[in-house]
């Protein structure tokens, strides 16, 4: 049983986003492993520790050089080896899934873990598109996962509430907050991770090209009124707020 865990290095959620020309400029921005992907790495490790017969955990990143850091973190957390398809080209998720699907096949992967939503592109498409290319089922927004032989059970969020599920490997599972609490790599493991294999692949060998053209980006900040009332006198403050909402904003009756 082999697990492929997909990770990406993205700006920290609290980091300020800046534009340069018509694209986001990450120069000087703090970047971290995408939190949603980190739950996937952790879950792969937990499945192995639960005795689910996990032979190998491979961390995969496709993207610019900065992703090496995310891969080293995954190796320090306990992944066995890493593959980095290094490219500065931006591919939409559906095109990118071609690369993931090919790698899943050559790596003889049984389970792919990937974050439910990307913190930079805000996309939820990679897991589903990869599952479709491989002809596998998918479980999205998982917050509980167990593996027994090739039987997956767990729970995931749906439009209204959540569902318990059963499915068989191979499968794609997307991960999110609440699934687990990712571990911090210890210093000895960080040292050990430096000796683990981090293979570099060329995107060209996968023949994937973006089908979506990214034309431009802008930061639209809505000017807010910022009328903040001191609440020392709760009655007066409440009356003033209700009056503003009724007569100035006209949003309540």
């Amino acid at each position: 049983m082999k697990i492929l865990t997909l990770i990406r290095q993205v700006p920290d959620a609290e980091a300020r986003v800046r534009l340069s020309g018509n694209a986001v400029d990450l120069d000087g921005t703090t970047v971290v492993m995408d939190g949603m992907d980190e739950y996937g790495v952790e879950e792969a490790l937990r499945l192995r520790e639960s005795g689910a017969g996990v032979e190998e955990i491979v961390a995969l990143a496709i993207g610019p050089k900065r992703n090496e850091d995310a891969l080293r973190t995954a190796l320090a957390m306990g992944a066995d080896r890493a593959v980095h398809v290094e490219t500065d080209e931006r591919l939409d998720a559906v095109s990118l899934s071609q690369v993931v699907a090919q790698l899943a096949q050559t790596e003889q992967t049984d389970l792919i873990l990937v974050g439910g939503q990307e913190a930079d592109w805000d996309s939820q498409a990679l897991g589903a598109a990869t599952a479709e290319r491989l002809g596998w089922p998918q479980l999205t927004w998982t917050n509980e996962l167990k593996l027994d032989g090739d039987k997956l059970t767990g729970r995931h969020d749906v439009d209204e509430g959540n569902e318990s599920f059963e499915a068989s490997l191979p499968a794609v599972v997307t991960t999110q907050q609440g699934l687990n609490e990712p571990r911090y790599p210890t210093l000895p493991n960080i040292m050990k991770a430096k000796k683990k294999e981090l293979r570099k692949d060329d995107l060209a060998t996968y023949g994937a090209q973006s089908r979506v053209k990214f034309v431009g980006a802008e930061i639209q900040t809505r000017a807010r009124l910022n009328k903040i009332i001191d609440g020392k006198d709760p009655q007066a403050a409440a009356a003033q707020l209700i009056d503003l909402l009724r007569n100035e904003a006209k949003v309540i009756k």
Partner: protein, 316 residues
């Protein structure tokens, strides 16, 4: 044709479907705006859809009694192929964004995800969408004989009924067996106005204090204002409120006329789900809370003191 896969809930057509009809018409692309209704006993939904669409295709069968990503994707792709659709529009709900990529792969089509605007552009489509936790608005384009789009809820106006309802046709589908079996369901429907459809939302954060206080503060205020009730991730994780009410990156994205945040600090993940609201109102005892930076109106004060006064003041 432009194919729209209907979204509905509790036997009623969802507002998102009306929004997708508007998105379809905005493309200016030729061919009938066609709504596909997938499900079992969906005649009522189909009739509602016919009021706004040029035509409605109805696949009513036991195999479609519950949503499944693979089944829905297969159905949408099959109809898109048979009807030679050049545009397929799916709702930007959690489920929509789960099966739309499969439709794109099946049709070998580019996929424009969670778009907030849509227009025809030569042989293709141009759209805007949010990135970086909704902090950046990006413009994207795709070309090709068929393009798959998911439309962000609340981003397009709801289509008004046409003078003449569209024709309805029954369709037969070849559907794959579902490979995921659902062994339990925990439906957490909020008893109030659905968040995606609410004009006003009152959301409680950790600052509300506990589950009981939601009943004391958040719900009565929402009732006075005819509002929906929302919750932050922390509140849902603590088990105070159902997941259906969660607003933010891992919950729902909303843009009501007024978003009233009680005891919400305003983490980026939460802001990404409500930052586009027309008016944002914040009540928080911490004057430095990030929510005040995006607020139009606010009161710095304790939820326990301010909200009872608001409940009183909002009574008519």
């Amino acid at each position: 044709m432009i194919l729209i896969v209907a979204e509905y809930s509790g036997g009623k057509l969802a507002k998102s479907t009306l929004e997708m009809v508007t998105a379809a018409r905005q493309t200016g692309r030729e061919g009938p705006v066609t709504v596909l209704v997938l499900g079992q006993n969906v005649a009522g939904v189909a009739t509602e859809a016919a009021a706004v669409a040029d035509q409605v295709l109805v696949a009513d069968s036991a195999a479609l009694s519950t949503y499944n990503a693979e089944t829905w994707a297969a159905a949408a792709a099959q109809i898109a192929q048979e009807g030679e659709a050049h545009t397929v529009i799916v709702g930007g709900s959690r489920s929509g964004r789960e099966y739309a990529p499969r439709v794109a792969v099946k049709l070998d089509a580019p996929y424009l995800e969670d778009v907030i605007s849509l227009s025809g552009s030569g042989e293709g489509l141009q759209a805007q969408r949010y990135t970086y936790l909704a902090r950046v608005t990006e413009t994207v384009e795709a070309q090709g004989p068929v393009i798959v789009v998911s439309a962000k809820p609340g981003s397009f106006a709801a289509a008004a009924p046409a003078a003449q309802p569209g024709e309805q046709y029954d369709v037969d589908l070849e559907l794959p067996e579902s490979r995921v079996s659902v062994t339990g369901r925990n439906v957490e429907k909020s008893s109030r106005v659905a968040l995606a459809e609410a004009d006003i939302i009152v959301t409680g954060g950790r600052g509300v204090g506990n589950a009981e206080n939601f009943g004391k503060y958040v719900e009565p205020l929402a009732d006075n204002l005819g509002a929906g009730v929302g919750a932050t991730r922390a509140v849902v994780d603590a088990g105070w409120r159902p997941y259906a009410e969660q607003v933010g990156q891992t919950g729902k994205t909303v843009q009501p006329g007024a978003y009233i945040a009680l005891g919400v600090s305003g983490a980026v993940q939460h802001l990404s789900g409500m930052g586009k609201s027309k008016y944002i109102v914040a009540i928080n005892k911490d004057a430095e809370a990030p929510i005040f930076k995006v607020a139009d109106y606010g009161i710095v004060g304790d939820v326990n003191e301010i909200v009872p006064a608001l409940i009183e003041a909002s009574k008519r």
